[in-house]
Symmetry: C2
Subunit: 423 residues, 2 copies
């Protein structure tokens, strides 16, 4: 069903095609104000996803619609934006066209903001044995797999199989790995404490494997050590300086040790969307990320910008821009400002580091703001507050706040529902 | 993995196996108090589902975990109950064993409460072209299909295809059909009014087809006529006295008229779980429902009871017991009382009709209580109140209440998220 692409274009306006409705693409659409542009926003999902809370969907704390919002609904008042649910296949920089599964979209300006997916450092053969956590579908699969492991253990009489079912391995000691490890430890030790009759869920082993010498290595001071300590207290086995050597069906070998495990979660690396490989003549790093110019445009293509997790750049102040949502939003705003100026002004992008935070578990988090470091309950309250404020949509803020209050006071989780079955 | 079934049984107690964690099975487990029994509850899902609100999940008003609750969690304090997530394959009445996918479970008492599935009156060849609404998986599939139809229409340039994508057919004018028709009409006309740029979602056609001469024929007085009127005002095309003659890929033929439609929902009939067909020598009706004795036991098998939607019976007062959740709960309680008496007392079951209600749309419902009939806003408030009270779990009550308030005041729906993709 390839159609005349002109049907999407308003010929009286300059056509801006935006690929990806994540933090970068959505923020761009929200900040583009100049009436000379018509925007077509393409995403293969119908929703914007608040990725920082994805691990809570995966571990039964929140339901999927609470951290997602339909793109059309967010942009309902932006009458110059047409949203198209479709998958990008290829970008033809010479012909100034995007080829999607269903359409061919010509553009005057193009914003590539397709984000990143799970990366395996060249070991894609490990992918079938691991679970990633980059989309709602992956989060719901992880939730189903974790809940099913406990169900199968309860129904099982073989102690070896029960031990494998109650062992979970997380590879990667960044924020996602730490948050998942803490959340899985709490699920098994606290949330499940009265639910089973035949197994003891507090015997669940959660292993967190990190190749470097620290967890949360981007955090300053003793926050990485504090994180290890807290996780250990919660029952997580932390393996530092440990490389994964092999992953197969039901096991991981790391640092010479074999761990039999039903659930292996890969939170160790990201890789740019495969579409960047279709960009003829554009310099990419080994993860497929684009080396952009200081104004975020592509070398040799002033009319094409990239933003978000698929950008590899050092900004005007010499900082490496990290793959985090504040950076993606700032890039989206930066490009919108360039176009709002009628493309007359192209300053260099500068990343404003607002600080970072990660949660470890109930009443425990780490935060680093403007040279100050926080930990424990105060950091956890800051984490809750910041995530509620940045969550998109008032309804989602209210329901997530309520879920958190409820979980805090009852020690329960509301979204422990298995949906869909494995083939 | 067939295991020695003794592992599930506490040999010092009488083993009660309950098949199905719906309203009948769950209520039984909650009311069984006598210490002489150990209960094994088998369900192929890990959750109890509040079916009366399933249509709101299907139409984007609620998220799946808001109307479901893990069975283990509901029964956490009932230490005599072991919950097993497994699928029942066969019942061996002579050997007093249930054969599931993974286990063989011997019983002293058996409660069959597996519920009903969508029934096609012998036209199972229509099933692949229609969508049912009996489980969370079916509700999420329906939601995805409806939201995708609008997405595809927005991306489409062919007026014939757009019309087909924006036409929805519901077969069956009972409560489910009426609730879905009203909800889909509101979705397209109200919720979507600012979201699309290329299509006009208010042009969506919703057809409700009923073979009989009335909608909601179980309601007295002029409530059926009121329902037709309200639905017409909301933009639903109601076809009464109209039989479906053919269903195929993308179309329905009913009353001699062909309707091209992307979404055909079958809400016309139910059929007992296929497991009842494995019951040797037990009288079934043509929908596979069991003709039970007055005490709800099976003829010739005092130790086996049936409860809920898979029962076909006329009670001690001569009333036909309907397939609704209050009847299922009353049956569950009835059987629990028999066992609590040490099986010394077996009264006949009597259905207490508490009345019925169905919602049509925003501020419109019908209700029939103790000979009094209500309609419009007052019936709608009653409907909201009763469904909140009967919803299982305080957290679910709170979040559903909040979603309803939010939807009422903003005219929006929060769960319009597409999860999973069609192969």
């Amino acid at each position: 069903m390839t159609e005349p692409a002109t049907s999407f274009t308003d010929t009286r306006k300059l056509e801006v095609v935006v690929l990806g409705g994540g933090f970068a693409g959505l923020t761009f659409c929200q900040h583009l104000e100049h009436p000379r542009y018509h925007v077509t926003l393409v995403d293969r999902q119908n929703h914007h996803l608040f990725q920082p809370l994805l691990y809570q969907v995966a571990t039964g704390g929140l339901s999927a619609p609470e951290i997602a919002q339909p793109l059309r609904s967010i942009l309902a008042d932006h009458k110059n934006v047409t949203t198209l649910m479709d998958e990008v296949k290829e970008i033809d920089l010479e012909g100034k066209e995007v080829i999607t599964q269903e359409h061919t979209l010509p553009y005057d300006y193009l914003i590539i903001a397709l984000g990143a997916k799970t990366g395996y450092f060249g070991r894609n053969d490990w992918a079938p044995f691991t679970l990633g956590l980059k989309s709602l579908d992956e989060a719901l699969t992880l939730r189903r797999r974790v809940l099913e492991a406990f169900e199968r253990a309860e129904a099982c009489n073989d102690p070896v199989a029960i031990k494998r079912l109650l062992t979970m391995v997380i590879v990667g000691g960044g924020p996602t790995g730490v948050e998942l490890a803490g959340s899985l430890a709490e699920l098994s030790r606290v949330v499940f404490q009265h639910d089973f009759r035949r197994i003891d869920p507090s015997k669940t082993e959660v292993h967190l494997i990190e190749a470097g010498s620290k967890l949360l290595s981007m955090f300053p001071g003793d926050l990485p050590e504090y994180t290890v300590e807290r996780l250990k207290k919660m029952g997580v086995t932390v393996h530092l300086d440990t490389r994964v050597e092999q992953v197969g069906q039901g096991f991981v070998v790391a640092g010479g040790q074999r761990i039999d495990s039903e659930i292996v979660i890969w939170a160790a690396g990201v890789e740019a969307s495969g579409v960047t490989r279709t960009l003829a003549g554009v310099p990419l790093d080994k993860c497929g990320r684009i080396h952009v110019l200081p104004d975020l445009s592509l070398p040799g293509h002033r009319e094409v910008f990239a933003a978000g997790d698929l950008v590899n750049m050092v900004d005007a102040k010499g900082q490496r821009v990290p793959g985090v949502s504040p950076a993606a939003m700032q890039m989206g705003t930066h490009i919108a400002r360039i176009l709002n100026s009628g493309d007359s002004d192209r300053p260099a992008f500068t990343y404003w580091d607002k600080g970072s935070m990660a949660t470890i578990g109930r009443s425990a988090a780490v935060a680093d703001f403007a040279g100050m470091q926080f930990r424990g309950f105060i950091a956890w309250m800051m984490w809750l507050f910041v995530h509620l404020v940045f969550l998109v949509g008032m309804r989602n803020r209210l329901t997530v706040f309520m879920q958190w209050m409820w979980s805090y006071f009852t020690w329960k989780r509301g979204a422990r529902i298995i949906i869909g079955h494995e083939e």
